[in-house]
């Protein structure tokens, strides 16, 4: 019986997936592409101008890092690491690592990477924390934003590079944007989580003493969520660093550029050296920010 029906072509959809026609599909894709191109032509320039301040800041910071004599930068790094971590061992390690990086002729690229990571981190924190607070405050915001964050974290970065490049071209700003899209979800998620995890009893006490919304937020929720928020900042920095190579594909200077060159030319040493420099930066950022975060929780330790 079954043979009969298939031979009769009555049930052809049963063996072959019902598809959109080839022409229809082409028009469909073309339609999307065209309308996005129109959008780009219409608003591309305005959007580019919107990000101008960010570009100026990034260029300024990069120049500052590059034009400052290296010993001063070295001292600044040592001071920052020491006051962040209060650990002499880590400070010495950081200075040694940067000496080796400089000696192996990676100083300029490292400074460029440092600049874009710093700007990306600042952008992520100043955008991510407010969004996290909003999510913690409203369940509707949470259900709306969570899937967006999921997409941002899982979609292959090359896919969102396409519209970003179409809109803003090749350059520092689209690179920065790509880094931020990838790096912002952890800080948003962990801010939200941190605030939601704040002890209900403490919140009720604050409410019972007549605290206003901002007094609750700034006096209780943010301080108590700080360990989580800080874990988010840490994760954001790590993810931003891991985007350095991809960002260099669309014109961001830094340690990613030689890595990319090494891939296309099969330069093993160049690739490994610059790759390790990224690792060193990541480890330093991680250790310093973790130690700093731990110090913020001094109150949780009981008396010795």
């Amino acid at each position: 019986m079954a043979h009969f029906f298939i031979r009769e072509k009555k049930l052809s959809f049963f063996v072959e997936f019902p598809k959109m026609g080839r022409a229809d599909l082409r028009d469909f894709k073309k339609g999307i592409d065209e309308s996005f191109k129109d959008f780009t032509r219409e608003y591309g320039e305005a959007i580019e101008h919107f990000f101008d301040p960010l570009l100026y800041f990034l260029v300024w910071l990069e120049k500052l890092f590059l034009n400052t004599p290296w010993p001063i930068i070295m001292v600044a790094i040592a001071v920052l690491v020491y006051f962040g971590s209060r650990s002499l061992k880590l400070t010495i390690g950081a200075v040694l690592a940067f000496l080796v990086i400089g000696y192996l002729d990676m100083w300029e690229d490292t400074m460029a990477t440092l600049a874009i990571i710093s700007v990306a981190t600042i952008v992520c924190i100043s955008v991510g924390i407010p969004i996290g607070i909003l999510m913690a405050r409203s369940n509707r915001a949470q259900t709306l934003i969570t899937p967006i964050l999921d997409v941002m974290q899982t979609i292959p970065s090359f896919v969102y590079l396409i519209p970003v490049v179409m809109l803003l071209g090749i350059g520092k700003v689209p690179g920065l944007l790509a880094v931020c899209i990838y790096a912002i979800p952890p800080i948003v998620r962990l801010t939200n989580l941190g605030i939601r995890l704040v002890d209900k009893d403490v919140m009720e006490a604050s409410e019972a003493f007549g605290a206003s919304y901002s007094q609750k937020l700034l006096g209780v929720q943010i301080p108590l969520a700080l360990p989580n928020i800080f874990a988010g900042v840490n994760q954001t920095i790590m993810m931003a660093l891991s985007m350095v190579v991809i960002a260099s594909m669309i014109g961001v200077k830094g340690l990613g550029v030689p890595v990319l060159r090494a891939i296309s030319n099969q330069y093993l040493a160049l690739g490994v050296m610059n790759g390790l420099a990224i690792v060193v930066l990541a480890i330093l950022f991680d250790r310093v920010s973790q130690k700093f975060g731990k110090r913020l929780q001094a109150h949780t330790e009981s008396m010795k």
Binding site: D201, V202, A205, S206, A208, F209, G210, V220, S302, M303
Partner: protein
């Protein structure tokens, strides 16, 4: 009545998806279990009427699930009622807008919590001054005022510690000092001492009573512990399934329990420590013995009488004889009641 501080009237609280639609059914007398089974709503408070007089310590007593914590949260509107009214100092709490309510919480009624609710990231002095800084009082003044309260609860020297560095009893002293620091006339205490171990609990009860002697606050004290209720309360309301089943002084409740539930409740109580000689006093001239003040508890009176070897005592008030008590009457009064100790009855 002018000396009524807090008046709770016809208060109902129903939890569920559409509480206001259930209110008529509750007023018609549907039972708590029927409401839950047939309509999926939980009856939290069932027609509660309590008047708290100024400078009194009102205890609200009930087992877990009786609605006592829900009730106390209505007084500063941490929970909104389904219907009813709450009037404090002639002002209706329920008609207040957000700003008025905030001011009420800041200056009129402060609260002490079972789980302390201290801010773990702030030092003791910052915790005690929390209510003051919320009001916008500058740090210096707030700390000065807080230090007095830290001293009065016996925590001087710990100003710069963090809550996690203190024991439970000490943390609750901080909670008490924080509540007192705002100078609110009303103190809401939600099972404030229940999380403490027995010795420290009794210690804290004494701290509260001695502070109350000086401060004369209006205190509403929630507890599940009848001993605590009898020790602290000027007036005690017993709550069961969200309804007040008896309200009165400690003696009232022990001598005239309203129903079997209360009877069962008080059967293990040491009555000798609650009842005063005046409650078993009569006037028999045949009794001779030592003189005892009318407000002495029977436990102490029995000791005095048995030491003197007589068959009773003369009760005096303001230096004048107002009656007598016999040894037998005192012993009968404190004997465990044999009525209704039905072990099959289960109370939730």
């Amino acid at each position: 009545m002018s000396d009524t501080k807090v008046a709770i009237k016809d208060l109902y609280k129903i939890f569920g998806s559409n509480p206001s639609s259930m209110i008529d059914k509750v007023k018609d007398g549907i039972s708590k279990s029927d409401l839950l089974e047939k309509f999926g709503h939980v009856l939290g408070l069932d027609n509660v009427n309590i008047e708290v007089k100024k400078s009194q310590l009102q205890v609200i007593m009930g087992l877990s699930g009786s609605g006592k914590s829900t009730l106390i949260r209505h007084i500063n509107r941490l929970i909104e009622p389904t219907s009813g009214s709450i009037v404090v100092d002639g002002e209706d709490i329920l008609s207040m807008n957000q700003t008025e309510l905030r001011n009420f919480r800041r200056s009129k009624a402060s609260m002490v919590f079972q789980k302390f609710g201290l801010l773990p990231h702030r030092k003791i002095v910052e915790n005690v001054s929390y209510g003051l800084t919320i009001q916008g009082i500058n740090k210096k003044e707030a700390y000065e005022r807080s230090n007095q309260w830290i001293e009065s609860v016996g925590l001087n020297g710990f100003e710069n510690h963090y809550p996690a560095q203190l024991s439970g009893g000490m943390q609750q002293r901080v909670g008490l000092a924080r509540a007192l620091a705002t100078d609110a006339d009303i103190l809401l205490m939600d099972e404030a001492f229940s999380a403490l171990d027995p010795l420290i609990r009794s210690d804290m009860q004494d701290v509260l009573l001695s502070l109350q002697e000086k401060l004369h606050k209006t205190i509403i004290f929630i507890t599940h512990d009848l001993d605590e209720a009898l020790k602290l309360g000027d007036n005690i309301a017993i709550l069961r399934d969200g309804a007040v089943i008896q309200s009165g002084t400690a003696e009232d409740i022990i001598l005239h329990p309203a129903d079997d539930y209360v009877t069962d409740f008080i059967k293990d109580i040491n009555k000798a420590r609650v009842l005063k000689v005046s409650s078993v006093m009569n006037n028999e001239n045949s009794i001779k013995g030592p003189e005892i003040q009318d407000n002495v508890i029977i436990e102490d009176a029995l000791q005095t009488v048995s030491k003197s070897g007589s068959n009773g005592a003369i009760v005096i008030k303001d230096g004048k004889k107002i009656g007598t008590v016999s040894l037998t009457d005192m012993i009968m009064a404190i004997a465990r009641s044999t009525k209704n100790t039905d072990s099959d009855t289960v109370y939730r």
